[in-house]
Amino acid sequence: MSDATADESTTHTPRSGWEEVTTQLRRNSTSRWGMYIVLFIIVVAIWAFVDGVVLDYYFAERFWYSPITAPPGSRGLLPPVGITNEYGTGTWAHPLGTDHRGRDILVRLVYGSRIAIQIGIVATGVGATLGTIIGAVSGYYGGWIDDVLQRTVETFYAIPFIVLMIAIMSAFGRGLWIAIVGVSVITTPIFARLIRSEVLSVREEEYIEAAKAAGVRDRNIIRRHVIPNSLAPVLVQATLQIGVNILIVAALSFLGFGAQPPTPSWGAMLAQSRTYMLPDPWFSVWPGLAILVTVVGFNLVGDGLRDAFDPRLND
């Protein structure tokens, strides 16, 4: 716009490198908080995976409580520490209270993080990768390939995510891996669409023309030029999409699709809490808060990334 501001934006060109982007991210205090949240949840989820899946809750049972079975003699629906209800008074032994079977809610929250993060990250990663390839091919070649792929993408878009997921899981089963495949399937069109529009604009750039004229093969042009240049929006969208997918997974578990009991998952905990929430709302509050905080974390990082890539809207 004006000389000085134009200068400013050129000296702070976002695409000049990752360093610039990460500096921007760290400088922005809200996205820094987002990164803390995300890192914390991921560390917890990795721990839950190692101890829960690999070691079969060895550490949890030895040093804490089992998230699967209630400790002997424990009471159900205890409130969090410092609060008294008709079932008793909260104790530090169960700081967030217990669920309907007397299991510690905190331990189930910790081990339930695995499902959210595992599906969120794996499925988003697979969907983003597939979508990027499909979108790049579609946008780059155009013609009938583009038409076919676009109609397919629109078809998947047209069926509400939850409905499609329900259909997929009722057809192939309700397990974790089916959920991962299903969420990948519904994530793919989002990225295909995004990348396609990016590619349509990149395709006209001169360096692509130059590469073509120099006889570089299409596949290599897509891989070396088209995809890297579209990476910034993919990264932003992927981060935001992890949040969306965590919400979808929770919704599915809530409806009874997804990881099956007794495996702890946040959505399933919310579903179980429905029966008991009126006398004991705490049971409903904690898993919802866990989902909220996790998704806020990913959204903050995603927003921060977008601002870092696009300094015009920087605050």
Binding site: M1, R151, T152, E154, T155, F156, Y157, A158, I159, P160, F161, I162, V163, L164, I166, A167, I168, S170, A171, F172, G173, L200, G243, L247, A250, A251, F254, L255, G267, L270, S273, R274, M277, L278, P281, S284, V285, G288, I291, L292, V295, V296, N299, L300, D303, R312, L313, D315
Partner: protein
């Protein structure tokens, strides 16, 4: 390209999309393990009864024949018989449709009329206190599981404050005799209103937050455009710039987001209906899936997709109306 031709082309594309939807759901539903007839009749049924029922629903034929037959029927508006309810799927859907439409429409109305002005205000007061408050609200709104909002609303508004009913939905056009606590039309409208508040907030909050966020960033983007600087340089007041020069341009990405969010909203209606025990097509599809009622699942999915396609078509037409570059053929 003129507007009617544009609409005609989009309609043509929609037909392909719906054909794709039918194909995908048909394949999915048929890949499902478990025999719907056996589930319906029960494990003790004898072989001949099962065979008879299979023949009755055409399940004894190979899959491609069934697919073609199904397509032909769909074209004629026949979605088949529900195995579970023993009535035509179309009838069941039409019976449940008003509740879902009422819910989705009221949520979107709520979302749009609150989010658009707030988003504009937020952009206008960028980085002031009110902007920060709105942005935090928007962030939490898009990060909260909608059904959890529903549960919290029930805990607070129904259980603790006793203000609003927690289940069901009353259609505003229902006869007073069919509605509890109602003797006049006004009572029905009142009942309808208080039943609608919590489901609307549950389904609408996410939409509202999403629209608010895009409205704000879109508005900021437009306010940075050179044509806004030009208006300023020629003495146009900030108020006119905001209301006339920037507003219309800023609505283009908002419209796109609203169109795409329809799919989230329709999916969300399944959850909202479950939380508030509303008899809509969301709870219908859950019933269908649990009972392996193929025709019902197929029919409801197709209906959901049609609603989405119609919604997107409307936003596309609005878009073409707002953006002259579209309707005059500069499409892409």
């Amino acid at each position: 390209m003129s507007l009617p031709r544009y609409v005609a082309r989009r309609l043509g594309q929609s037909v392909f999309t719906l054909l794709g939807v039918v194909t995908i759901t048909f394949l999915l539903v048929n890949a499902a393990p478990g025999d719907p007839v056996r589930i319906f009749i029960g494990p003790s049924a004898d072989a001949s009864a099962i065979a008879a029922m299979r023949a009755q629903f055409g399940l004894d034929q190979p899959i491609h024949i069934r697919y073609i037959k199904y397509l032909m029927n769909v074209v004629q508006g026949d979605l088949g018989q529900s195995i579970n309810y023993r009535v035509p799927v179309t009838q069941k859907i039409l019976e449940r449709l008003p509740a879902t439409l009422l819910l989705v429409a009221s949520s979107f109305t709520f979302a749009i009329i609150t989010a658009v002005p707030i988003g504009v205000l937020s952009a206008q007061r960028r980085n002031q206190l009110s902007d920060h408050v709105f942005r935090i609200f928007g962030l939490i709104g898009v990060s909260t599981p909608s059904f959890w909002i529903g549960l919290l609303l029930i805990i607070i508004l129904t259980y603790h404050l006793g203000l609003l009913p927690a289940t069901g939905l009353v259609m505003p056009w229902a006869p007073p005799s069919a509605v509890d606590h109602a003797t006049t039309r006004l009572d029905v409208l009142y009942q309808s209103g208080i039943h609608l508040i919590m489901p609307t907030l549950t389904l609408g909050t996410l939409q509202m937050a999403a629209i608010m966020r895009i409205e704000r960033s879109s508005m900021l983007e437009v306010l940075n455009q050179e044509y806004v600087s030009l208006a300023r340089a020629f003495g146009v007041s900030e108020r006119t710039i905001l209301r006339k020069h920037a507003f219309r341009n800023a609505q283009l990405p908002v419209l796109t987001v609203i169109g795409l969010n329809l799919t989230t909203a329709l999916g969300g209606s399944v959850l909202t209906e479950t939380v508030f025990s509303i008899n809509g097509i969301g709870t219908l599809i859950i019933t269908g899936v649990n009972a392996r009622d193929y025709p019902l699942v197929l029919g409801t999915t197709l209906f959901y997709a049609s609603l989405f396609v119609i919604g997107v078509l409307i936003t596309d037409i609005l878009y073409a109306y707002l953006d002259p570059r579209i309707s005059y053929g500069d499409e892409s």
